[in-house]
Structures are given as C-alpha cells and as structure tokens.
C-alpha cells in the first residue's frame, strides 16, 4: 500500500495514513496489521483509524526499534507491505446500552481509538462513556484535536504525570483517578490498554469499584510474528495472542498473566 499522509503526533510518534485502494480495508476495532518495511522487516501495529472509514487505513507508530523507526521515516508516496487485519476486537456491539470506561495511557490510546470512534459515531446506542487518558506531560497526549471533538459527546478526562500551572486537567497516573469516575459497577464495561504492570494496577482499582473481571477487556502485546497462530512466538499458555487476542476479557487471561514464566 502507498502512504498517503504522515502526521507527527508527539516526539517520536507518527500517524501514517495508507491508501488501501478502491476495495478499502474493513476491520474491527482492536485488530492489528503486520506492516512490512522493505529491507527492514515486519512488525505488528494496531489499526488506529475510524472503522467506518475503510477508505483510509491508519496506524500510529512510535519509533523504538529498527522497523518502527523505518516506518516513521516513510513519507507520502512510499510503499509498504500490509498483512491483516488480524486478531480479536473490542466488544463494542456487546456493550450497547451499557456504560463504558476507557482507561489508557500514552500510545495505548491507539488500539482503543477505533472503539472510541465507533462509540462516538453511534453515541445514542451507549450509556455514559468516559475516556480516562494519561500521558507523561501535556505535550505527550495523542490525538489532541480528536480529544476535543470527542469531549462534545463523551466525558474525556486527560491526566498527565506532571504539568505547568496552566494545565487544567488531572495530574497523576490514570489509576489514581479511576475511583473518581462515578461509574455504576453493575452497568459499566471497562476497556483498558497499557503496559501489563500498569494494567494490573488499573484492574485492581476497577475491581475495588466493583467492576468484575469478566467486564474488563484488555489488549495484550506479545511477540507477534506470523499473525496466524502458527509460529508460536506470541503463545500465552493455551492461547495465541495474534489469533485469539490481542483483545481478551480479563477473566480469560487472569491466571495466565499472573504466571511470570509465560
């Protein structure tokens, strides 16, 4: 596919728009693609665009390794390989008429963004929707224009690790503010994305609120290679993250995540 647009989000983080051609690229919120930069290699990257815009395929990438750095160097007109979409999705249809609490930080908003788009596009189908989103500092928040647009229909609660005095949002890690979100635990489904250590902390707070494990959905990052559940690189006990995941309900993977050897 051809790169149609590159936008710098924050330092070292870029959003690439790809042109999937006339057939478009339908996907479900939470799914990922394997992106191949010729001569460099292939990496799994979450799709971060609007699922109702299959004419634009969007990925947000942070330049950390050889391939992701090469992805961030691409410019409009460059060509890259795309395999996908792969994996499971956020349960946006099963959440209709429910309240939704998104909790995420940093680049973790990218895999959740299609689910937020979906809910924003179908706002009347859902109850109270809260997006609690954290970053190290205000200049590290992704998609700031969209956060503003979403805040017209959803409750957007940005939190940063530290800030100057002109910042009006929360300061502290997102976990700290979960208890303040006034959620009805019987009505709420939580969707979270962060590092595993941070997600354990989030889940602990969600459980304290009374939200049970089965109502918490998370996306996992493992060493995904084939995307088909064949090579075994992303195996987590009996499941393959690339095929059975990356989105799971927490009750399905709770025991597996507690095992440090896996």
């Amino acid at each position: 596919m051809t790169v149609s647009k590159v936008e710098k989000e924050t330092r070292g983080t870029f959003t690439l728009e790809l042109d999937p051609g006339e057939s478009g690229f339908p996907f479900l919120p939470g799914q990922f693609n394997m992106l191949y930069v010729f001569g460099n290699g292939e990496v799994p990257i979450s799709i971060s665009g609007d699922p109702e815009r299959p004419d634009i395929l969007v990925h947000t990438v942070r330049a950390v390794g050889k391939v992701s750095k090469a992805l961030c160097r691409l410019r409009p007109g460059d060509v890259l390989g795309v395999r996908g979409p792969y994996g499971s999705s956020w349960p946006v249809d099963a959440c209709r008429e429910r309240d939704i609490l998104f909790v995420t930080g940093g680049l973790g908003l990218a895999p959740l963004r299609p689910a937020v788009f979906h809910i924003f596009n179908h706002r009347r189908d859902y109850g109270k929707v809260i997006l609690l989103y954290g970053a190290r500092s205000p200049d590290r928040l992704l998609y700031t224009k969209e956060l503003e647009t979403w805040s017209r229909a959803l409750r957007v609660e940005p939190a940063v690790g530290s800030a100057g005095p002109d910042w009006k949002g929360h300061v502290g890690i997102v976990t700290n503010f979960i208890a303040r979100m006034d959620c009805d635990p019987a009505q709420t489904k939580a969707m979270i994305c962060s590092s595993e250590s941070m997600m354990r902390s989030m889940i602990s707070e969600l459980n304290l609120l009374g939200i049970p494990d089965r109502e918490i959905h998370l996306t996992l990052e493992r060493n995904m290679k084939c995307g088909l559940g064949l090579c075994g690189h992303c195996q987590l006990g009996p499941t393959f993250v690339c095929k059975n995941g990356p989105v799971y309900s927490y009750d399905r993977v709770k025991e597996l995540l507690a095992k440090r050897e896996l």
Binding site: R136, G161, S162, A163, G169, R180, S195
Partner: protein, 156 residues
C-alpha cells in the same frame, strides 16, 4: 457546626470511626472556600491542619528553580490532603493551590494532635486512616516512576 456531623460520618475517610470521635472531630472542623488560583499553603509553612475536599480541585506544586511551579498532583472531590500535622516537624512539604473554586472542610490538626496524645485510640484511628492515604500515594508514585522508566526506554 453539628450540621457537619453527617458529612464526616458519610465520608470514606472517617468510615467506621466511633461516634464519640466524630463528635470530637466536628468541634475541630470548619468550612472553608478557596477561589481559583488562591494559594492554600506554601512549602515550609507550619502544618496545623488537614482538609477534606467537598467540591473543587486543588493542585500540588513544587517550585523548581529555573522551571517555576511544577504540578505533581491534582486532588478533587472527596480527597484528603495534609498529613504533616501528624508528623514532625509539622511543616507543609509542597505548595497547595486551588485550580477552581473549591469548598473544603478544614480540620484543626494542632488541636487534634493534643487530643491524639491524650487518647491513643483516637490517635491510632487517625494514624490508620492517614497511613492508607499515604500508602496509596506512595504506590501511585512508584507506578509513576515505573511509567517514566518504561517511557525512557521507549525514548532510547
């Protein structure tokens, strides 16, 4: 003042506290209001009180030479702040400033210190409650350090 009793009794911080202590605490409490940007306390001032936020938002700042004020935490409805009335040398360690109009209950810590010395059961009950607040803040700070470390590795 006695109209504050239901508020104290229902507040999470004082949950399950003996009624006789709640009545005593009401005697040490007063309603306060802070306007946006009003400084509540500055680092180094004597810490003779603590606060329960009823409605509003307060930011905790450290003044960094060269950078100016750095906000390290925000506190909102239901939060408790100010534990240094309990711990020598009884000084505020950070600056506290209202972000927006904030209503709070100010508790006279200097008076409570004396009462805690006289009645160790009260002292224990309050220390237990402040330990939970401090323990949670320490945990959150460590998680924040972990996040910094993870982000630092991403930046490398």
């Amino acid at each position: 003042m006695h109209d504050l009793l239901p508020f104290l009794a229902e507040h999470d911080f004082f949950k399950d506290l003996d009624e006789k202590y709640l009545s005593l605490l009401v005697g040490c409490a007063k309603n306060v209001r802070f306007e946006p940007e009003q400084v509540i306390h500055r680092e180094g001032e004597p810490a003779d009180e603590f606060y329960l936020i009823r409605k509003g938002k307060v930011r905790v700042e450290i003044h960094s030479t060269g950078i100016g004020p750095v906000v390290i935490q925000t506190l909102t409805d239901g939060d408790v702040f100010g534990s240094n009335w309990l711990i020598p040398p009884y000084k505020w360690l950070f600056d506290y400033r209202a972000v927006e109009r904030t209503r709070a209950l100010s508790m006279d810590g200097k008076c409570l210190r004396g009462k805690c010395d006289e009645d160790h059961d009260l002292g224990y009950a309050l220390m237990m409650r402040f330990s939970q607040v401090l323990s949670k803040r320490l945990y959150m700070t460590r998680m924040q350090l972990l996040l910094e470390l993870e982000s630092f590795e991403d930046d490398e």
